[in-house]
């Protein structure tokens, strides 16, 4: 293929570096410096996609972020597939592979095209709601095909091979946009010594200065641009970020910048190099210099390939040396767009006419056009484009001075390119992100940034100042102001002066009227991505949608991946007119982050794979791994779940672990339990206030179990606390509750009882904790200690002792969560593995069996011990649990939870209460969460009594056991309840006590 539209010279491309790329299966050539869009236009590719709803052929309209049509799927391999890439923003590289995302099964013919033709009238706004949503169940089927046909791109089916990262930035001044205003602002701020970040979404900084034609102080603008960038690059306090889109503006001047670090190099990033980076920036001050987007005019068939933005045509000519056609008709509401006709003519192609919508437009620009011999039709408009897959002609009609009616007879101008300019819409997107509503300005004929509480300034076109000199001066002065506000001494940088032709007043025109009313006229597209037409917006308002937010949602205007950058303002103007309101009265929808689509990779950064979430390990973790443990996530901890031997099923392993522990001795890594060291003379008083039971008399050397409740009386954590010294306690919490409990204790200490002298510190990680449990636990421990008297009457149940275990100073707690004779050995974590291994050395003769959390759960359930967070859910108080023994109501201080559990609802007798449940068929293990009913044959919805909270098969009891909540359960022992399961089966179970094994607690007291 030849680059038929490439000019022989000019542009900022490197003709010495030809690049080969693929689009839609065809191979093309472009040059380094091309965008994918400019390269396609250079090759004369007209149709680059098909439209969403009507499947109409579409071409490239714009040259920047606002492009709605040329949104492609990129990627040479499955793993590097990237959807939603705007060809206008994608730099060309050698070997680039791109596909249109729309137009399935192919660009030139598809069934949606057929549908669009046949069913066009049947696809009104709200067509999703009206057509596809019923019946609801079929939506899944419709959606799959609609998405495919509509071309929303696809995610890769293989893992992404690239890496992405985040960088946290702090800066005094962040300048968004490196056009004339942004560059001038950067100079002023940088010279003050402030930390400055200048970010621009394009590969080259310079903004409109890159598009050619301008002179500054009599020199080509490129010279000032280079000098400015060179100066900025020299400063240590300045970070220049090209290819970096400031995508989100969040509270308190937090902004995210999406930097594409290697997308211009190739399909994959180099090794160890992140492909994209998300900068998370906290800026003291922000200068928005985001410029403006040219607004296309809305007219019949304005979506034909060849219909383009005037400024985009100029950009392609000047920056890329590409003229996207031969014969141009330009329609404009303003002087500035005349530049495009002049550029076109300078490129050696024919300008058929400039169609100026203003009556009697006359001034320097019209003068220049006449000097160039270009035909100018004032007071006229293009009401309709003609052609099938490319513009072939423009239907021009007279226009009433107010722009409301097409007048007189039509003439058809033969052309292949139809450029339009309806003026410029400030790119106010970022200023909207924090909730600030933009304000309509009749002078600007556009929305400008509204009032904001952010430390934000807006310079240049985004503030509605479109002249180059205004932009430079305002940039310089606001850059200095931002630096000054950030605490620096700054002066506005001196800026050069541009020679500019004076401009006369533009006309506020959005939708060009046709002779027919809009609903009968050829389709006048407002939003190209979602195929919303002027008629559709009018229909929405007729159907009663008066709020612009509702019109947006009903028509889907602005819902595409371009967020309606091109069409929204036109849409609002059309809605306003249809509602007989001003645009100001109608208002605008507001833009939300992100400004342009961001890859999931950039959002995730390094928080993926093994680094997705912290994995917390105990000191004995490597032993567990080596011994084949399966792990369970408990919070962020990796806890051994069970230790299967080769060939064992999970249940077989659990049975073995349970039996071994009850018959001989088992060992559990309990290091993950939360541990809080509490010191101070008021520690005891503090415990009495936060636990439901009594602590006043717990002697040194003793341990006690306690329940913690919220103020509402509901249990939220439990654990054993030991008295280490008169003013020193060690509290244990649940594994998952550790951080929350400490924060809770601090909350009360800091805000309610600061007078209590107590300090709390986490020592969870400091101690390695191993529990040996079973009839042989004492024998085993006795082999490893000679300074702890293990005599049953000296070292009793719920005592703790200090001594040496396996040569390591240890605190040994005789407490039990299994109901067995049990010791919890605590040593400084550096020595945890040593002690653990010594226990195994000596434990072999007792068949010392490691058990995991699942066996722990079974053993404790056999004893009816609760797990806070499993058997409780924030709606269960100690009495519901049958644990009145753990509540001491007559403590002098009204402990947390006491008043709560006395509320009217909490003292009802028919509350859901924790009971034991035995299935009549001992082989059935009820699923946790199963709901009990009294009569399984009652009509649905059935009256539910409560759910199963814990359920296991107990090898020791050779049957299933369960605990669950049952309404009034404490008074229903012996009753049969029914559990209708999802599979239709109904399981009968008998209500019993929660203690299934050793009800007198003899085993732990041996």
């Amino acid at each position: 293929m030849t680059q038929s539209n490439r000019l022989p010279r000019g542009g900022r491309i490197d003709r010495s570096r030809p690049l080969t790329f693929k689009f839609n299966g065809q191979t093309y050539q472009g040059f380094a410096g091309d965008s994918l869009a400019s390269a396609l236009l250079a090759n004369g590719v007209d149709v680059i996609g098909r439209s969403f709803k009507y499947s109409r052929p579409r071409g490239i309209i714009a040259a920047g972020a606002e492009e709605p049509n040329a949104v492609f799927q990129l990627g040479a391999t499955e793993a590097t597939q990237t959807p939603n890439v705007r060809a206008t923003q994608q730099e060309l590289f050698d070997g680039l592979v791109s596909q249109p995302t729309s137009g399935w099964p192919n660009l030139n013919f598809d069934f949606m095209g057929l549908m669009g033709t046949i069913l066009g009238r049947m696809l009104p706004p709200g067509f999703y709601y009206k057509t596809f949503m019923f019946p609801q169940a079929a939506w899944d089927t419709y959606e799959k095909y609609i998405r495919k046909a509509a071309g929303l791109g696809r995610s890769p089916r293989e893992p992404d091979v690239d890496i992405y990262d985040h960088l946290n930035q702090h800066t005094d001044v962040l300048i968004v946009g490196a056009g004339p205003a942004g560059l001038a602002a950067a100079l002023s701020a940088a010279r003050s010594g402030a930390r400055v970040i200048l970010a621009d979404e394009q590969a080259e900084m310079g903004g409109s200065l890159l598009d050619g034609g301008y002179t500054l102080d009599g020199q080509p603008a490129a010279e000032w641009l280079k000098a400015t960038l060179d100066e900025l690059a020299r400063y240590d306090n300045v970070l220049l970020l090209p290819r970096s889109t400031v995508n989100g503006y969040h509270d308190h001047n937090f902004l995210t910048i999406h930097e594409r670090r290697t997308d211009h190099i190739g399909d994959r990033a180099p090794a160890n190099h992140s492909r994209q980076r998300l900068h998370r920036v906290r800026a003291k001050w922000v200068v928005l210099a985001t410029g403006a987007h040219e607004r296309p005019l809305v007219y019949g068939n304005n979506d034909l390939p060849g219909c383009m933005l005037a400024s985009a045509v100029s950009t392609y000519i000047n920056r890329y040396a590409v003229v996207p056609g031969n014969r141009l008709v330009l329609m404009t509401t303003n002087d500035n767009a005349y530049r495009t006709a002049f550029d076109w003519q300078d490129a050696g192609r024919e300008v058929v006419a400039i169609v100026d919508t203003r009556q009697g437009a006359a001034g320097a620009w019209q003068e220049e056009a006449r000097r160039r011999g270009i035909k100018v039709l004032t007071g006229h408009a293009v009401i309709e484009a003609r052609g099938r897959k490319r513009v072939q002609g423009a239907v021009v009609s007279g226009l009433s001075p107010d722009g409301s009616q097409a007048l007189g007879s039509d003439q058809v101008l033969v052309c292949d390119t139809l450029a339009t300019s309806g003026g410029w819409s400030p790119a106010v997107h970022l200023s909207c992100h924090t909730g600030s509503r933009p304000i309509w300005d009749d002078e600007v004929i556009g929305f400008v940034p509204g009032k904001t509480v952010q430390k934000q300034l807006a310079a240049g076109a985004v503030a509605g100042r479109f002249g180059l000199n205004e932009c430079l001066e305002e940039g310089a002065s606001l850059g200095a102001l931002a630096a000054t506000n950030a605490g620096f001494t700054a002066e506005p940088a001196a800026v050069p002066t541009a020679e500019c032709r004076p401009e006369t007043r533009p006309m506020a025109l959005f939708c060009v009227p046709h002779h027919k009313r809009n609903s009968r006229a050829p389709k006048q597209f407002v939003d190209f991505q979602t195929d919303v037409t002027a008629a559709a917006i009018e229909l929405a308002t007729r159907e009663g949608f008066e709020s612009i937010e509702h019109v947006k949602r009903y028509t889907a205007m602005g819902f595409g991946t371009d967020q309606g950058k091109l069409g929204n303002i036109n849409g609002m103007a059309i809605a306003a007119k249809s509602l007989n309101q001003t645009i100001s009265e109608t208002g605008t929808t507001i833009f939300r982050p992100n400004y342009t689509p961001v890859t999931f990779g950039a959002i995730a950064g390094r928080h993926c794979n093994d680094l997705f979430d912290p994995m917390r390990y105990t000191a004995m973790h490597e032993w567990h791994v080596k011994h084949g443990a399966k792990f369970e996530d408990v919070g962020q901890w990796k806890r051994p779940w069970y230790y299967p031997k080769p060939g064992e099923t999970m249940q077989q392993a659990l049975n073995r672990e349970c039996l071994a522990t009850r018959d001989s001795v088992g060992i559990l890594d309990a290091s993950t339990l939360g541990k809080i060291d509490i010191q101070g003379k008021d520690a005891r008083e503090f415990l009495g206030r936060v636990y439901t039971n009594a602590w006043a008399k717990l002697p040194v050397g003793k341990c006690r179990y306690g329940l913690m409740c919220r103020e509402d009386g509901m249990v939220f954590d439990d654990g054993v606390t030991s008295c280490l010294g008169e003013n020193h306690f060690l509290m244990t919490t649940t594994t998952g509750g550790a951080a929350g409990v400490l924060e809770w204790l601090e909350l009360y200490h800091q805000t309610e009882w600061p007078e209590l002298e107590v300090y709390m510190n986490t020592v969870t990680d400091h101690w390695a904790t191993m529990t040996i449990a079973g009839p042989n636990a004492r024998k085993l421990l006795s082999e490893l200690t000679d300074d702890i008297d293990l005599d049953r009457d000296t070292f009793k149940f719920m005592d703790w002792r200090q001594g040496t275990v396996a040569g390591v100073p240890a605190r040994v707690f005789r407490i039990s969560f299994t109901g067995e004779l049990s010791y919890e050995i605590n040593v400084q974590a550096h020595y945890g593995l040593h002690v653990w291994e010594k226990l195994f050395e000596h434990g072999a003769k007792y068949d010392l069996t490691p058990y995991g959390t699942e066996t722990m759960h079974i053993l404790r359930a056999e004893k009816g011990f609760i797990i806070a967070g499993q058997d409780t859910d924030g709606s269960v108080h100690p009495y519901d649990l049958g644990m009145s023994w753990a509540v001491k109501e007559d403590k002098p201080f009204s402990f947390i939870g006491k008043r709560g559990m006395k509320r009217e609802d909490c003292v009802r007798t028919d509350r859901k209460q924790l009971v034991g449940l035995k299935t009549l068929d001992p082989g059935i293990v009820l699923p946790e969460g199963a709901q009990a009913v009294d009569d399984p044959n009652q009509p649905k919805p059935m009256k539910m009594l409560g759910h199963i909270t814990s359920s296991y098969y107990s090898a020791n009891l050779e049957r299933s056991i369960a605990m669950g909540l049952i309404r009034n359960g404490h008074n229903r022992e012996g009753d049969i309840v029914y559990y209708p399961l999802e599979n239709g089966r109904v399981v009968e179970a008998e209500i019993c006590g929660t203690i299934f094994l050793d009800p007198k607690g003899e085993r732990q007291n041996v």
Partner: protein, 239 residues
Amino acid sequence: MSDVTNTAVDSTATPGVALMDQQPDDSVPARSPLHHVAQAQTGEVSANARVSIWEEPLKTHLILRGDAAAAGFREGVQAATGLDLPEPLQSQSKGDWSLSWITPDEWLLVGPGDQAFTMESRLREQLEGHYAVVNVGGGQSIVRLSGTEARSVLMKSCPYDVHDRHFPVGKVVTTVLGKTQATLRRLGDNDWEIVVRRSFADYIWRWLLDAASEHGVHTGPLLSAVKGQASHKTDTSTV
């Protein structure tokens, strides 16, 4: 009061508090939180490495709690450690010991690994009033981060501003690191100390290695920073 005879509970220095020498003799191998990556710490610096990361294992870590305004606490700390209580976000160091501000009533004292019991005893002898001393040495470790790109590794890891203007040498900040937290102290222009919790040490280690990979990373101390390593015997056997 206690009705149990419990000779093992030692409260010689401070009545009512269980002071305990938690360190066994040298015959017992100690394993630091990053013991399993210690093998990688060869000490050879590769030519391209602009970041180096290593663990300073098995040091004494004592948490001191008290009221900085109370003379009995402030002077007691000075007498026991020779260090003044640092102001918020600051640290003091002298010889093998450093003292860092953690919270308005909390400081972290770090020193040689075999000194925990002696130092805690000395502190308890010197301190007066309402205070606490907690040995947390088993639950923490120190990761050192060094090199010309060390700061950029931290920028990838922490939301806190680590720029020279905002984080001068000597400053101490507890902040987010990856998806957990750590206490950062700047020891020099390109030299940082990161205090990590034991259970998170492996995650933080892997996180930092990953963040440093684009700069070239060396896992081991820079020669200039080797001195002052733990005096502890470490277990080099593999499990």
